[in-house]
């Protein structure tokens, strides 16, 4: 890894009149990293990507790529390449000419260019389609052509704008793994924009979560999942049960809390959260809650009634009401075939461990 970041955004801002599409964006990406910008549509993630690519000029702030200020560098001279959401395959050129498009101004000989094109097509497993017309390609093939066309330029940074959103579910999942493998084999920094949290978590080294033009949290997927910096991030990534808790004691590492109707717990302090008042909000992931029949209830068990059941195939989600707290909770259990299922109206016992309770800071 180089000492300086490969991409650095310093206070980048993009305003349209009074509307800020991106505000005060600070970000440093290290070389060889797979980074995802994740957020709902309209959160400014695509604008941020286009600012790095040079298609949009920031209203203020600085973009540095490999240590160089990009202020006066137009898109066609930046060491970045982009995979567009629509793939933007040139309709009048065949696959080989699409991939070789950017090399024609490179000063390479024809033989060298042909070799690079063949190599790039091999990389995306399209070696035998070089002469294929672009209108005879499937969605997945178009995506690969777009990838090869960008990678053949050997950019310092590859930018991907929702690269998989046009593909159907099965193909998307295959391509996620393949994209990750490709990134690791070429060692180029990838910056991907996506609204799909699972996609971001599957592929990325780090994820930046954006809401309303602001970068809210940048972390590795596991950290993001275990220590979300706010309620909105916790709600956006994965499922989450939210509960109010009174703080009984506050220590260096942990907090003693009382979750009404559930009892007292000693939970870990979330380092991503800044404020802790007398009342905080805590979160529990649905798959972290144990569920058993009411007869098997342990001393710590929490009484609840099953209200709804959602079958997802690999898992089953029970929507239950905790009796004492009168609070709705979602509980996810893996589908072990033959295991005992619960029916609507069943009395059950919930098992919540202190370690699975996430501190989300002072209630807003």
């Amino acid at each position: 890894m180089t000492s300086h970041p490969i991409v650095e955004l310093r206070g980048v801002e993009k305003r349209y009149g009074n509307l800020a599409a991106v505000s005060n964006l600070n970000l440093a990406l290290s070389a060889g990293e797979f980074f995802s910008l994740l957020g709902p549509s309209g959160c400014g993630k695509t604008t941020a990507l286009r600012i790095i690519a040079g298609f949009q000029e920031p209203t203020s702030g600085q973009v540095l790529i490999d240590g160089n200020d990009m202020a006066d560098m137009p898109a066609n001279r930046r060491p970045t390449n982009m995979v567009f959401q629509s793939y933007a395959i040139f309709p009048h050129l065949d696959v080989g000419k699409n991939v070789g498009f950017g090399l024609s101004n490179s000063g390479l000989s024809k033989a060298e260019r042909d070799m690079r094109v063949a190599e790039a097509l091999e990389m995306v497993e399209l070696g035998d389609l070089e002469d294929r017309k672009s209108d005879a390609l499937s969605g997945g093939q178009r995506q690969r052509v777009a990838l090869a066309r960008a990678l053949v330029m050997r950019p310092k940074v590859l930018l991907l704008d929702e690269p998989l959103s046009a593909l159907d579910k099965n193909l998307r999942e295959t391509m996620q793994l393949e994209l990750r493998r490709l990134q690791q084999s070429v060692g180029i920094t990838f910056v991907m924009v996506t609204h799909d949290q699972y996609e971001a978590m599957t592929i990325s080294d780090r994820i930046g979560v954006m809401f309303e033009g602001r970068l809210k949290q940048v972390d590795a997927p596991a950290t993001l999942y275990a220590q979300p910096a706010s309620r909105e991030i916790a709600a956006f990534i994965g499922g989450m049960n939210f509960l109010a808790a009174d703080v009984l004691s506050s220590g260096e590492k942990g907090l003693g809390v009382n979750i009404r109707g559930f009892g007292k717990f000693h939970i870990a302090r979330n380092p991503k959260v800044s404020k802790h008042g007398e009342r905080i909000e805590v979160g529990i992931r649905p798959e972290q809650i144990g569920i058993s029949t009411a007869e098997e209830k342990s001393d710590m068990g929490i009484e609840a009634v099953v209200r709804d059941i959602a079958f997802y195939g690999e898992s089953i989600h029970y929507h239950v009401i905790a009796t004492a707290a009168d609070a709705p909770l979602s509980v996810a259990v893996p589908n072990h075939f033959h295991s005992r299922d619960f029916a609507r109206g069943d009395k059950v016992s919930l098992d919540i461990k202190s370690t699975s309770i996430i501190d989300l800071g002072t209630m807003e």
Partner: protein
């Protein structure tokens, strides 16, 4: 809905048939009499002949007028299509003040009466010292055909995915290079279609050409001058039939290219 359609259909189709006969019967008489072996244009027909068509090749003034028309058509179509291409790209890609107003302004020649345009152009051209000539007709026809060029090119650009141009820039191509290597080839069928339509309009245009032609007439102006001589009438009918067939051919080709251009612009 289906029932209502069934009930109305017979009367509607009769109406449509009558309408089409009324529109095209006179046009169909043109080729009919051009094969008639007699100088008087009236029924009954007196026999089948190709002689009027054969006689056309001997008319030197006619061939000259034909060449004039081809030249004016190609030049004005090229001019109008170039302007239309640039205007359409601007309308499709950029937001600027008075965009809608200027789109309307560009279409104005379609609704201004030809005689008004013709006489005011004559006055304007004489004022700036441009004598009635082929050059004057070329400018006049370019003005007249720009609306066709703009609307055809706009439909080519409507389907054009803007990220294709961004992709070319992203791959290191210059702005001019992107226009040459991506924009032009992708809208090429639209350009061809626009050229054909503009050419056809110019080729058939009479009023402007009549006002602006000096001693070099275009084909329609020449035909008009011949119509005064009854003996030349069958000749003119033969010539007219050729032009009719030629125009239809060009417009069919133009439509084929226009459809191809809308199909191809998407890049998805």
């Amino acid at each position: 809905m289906k029932v209502a359609l069934k009930r109305i259909a017979p009367s509607l189709s009769t109406y449509a048939a009558v309408y089409l006969v009324f529109l095209y019967l006179p046009v169909l008489l043109l080729p009919l009499f051009s094969f008639n072996d007699g100088t008087i244009v009236a029924f009954p027909l007196s026999g089948f002949t190709f002689k009027w068509y054969l006689a056309l090749s001997g008319e030197e003034a006619l061939l000259r007028a034909l060449l004039n028309s081809l030249f004016v058509g190609i030049a004005s179509a090229t001019l109008a299509t170039s302007l239309g291409l640039l205007a359409a790209r601007a309308f499709a890609r950029y937001r600027f003040p008075l965009r809608h107003a200027s789109e309307g302004l560009v279409m104005l020649p379609l609704v201004v009466p030809g005689i008004i345009v013709a006489s005011s152009m004559l006055v304007l051209f004489l004022f700036i010292g441009l004598k009635p000539s082929l050059a004057a007709i070329i400018l006049g026809h370019a003005f007249l055909t720009v609306p066709f060029a703009v609307s055809i090119m706009k439909s080519a650009f409507d389907e054009f995915d803007p990220s294709i141009e961004e992709a070319a820039l992203d791959l290191g191509e210059s702005v001019a290079g992107t226009f040459r290597r991506v924009t032009l080839p992708v809208v090429a069928p639209g350009i061809l279609s626009s050229m054909l339509v503009c050419f056809t309009v110019s080729f058939d245009e009479f009023v402007l050409a009549f006002f602006l032609s000096g001693n070099e007439p275009t084909l329609p102006v020449y035909i008009w001058s011949q119509i005064r001589f009854p003996a030349k009438l069958p000749n003119t009918l033969a010539l007219g039939s050729c032009l009719l067939a030629f125009s239809i051919l060009l417009l069919v080709l133009a439509e084929i290219f226009r459809r191809r251009s809308t199909k191809r612009g998407t890049g998805k």
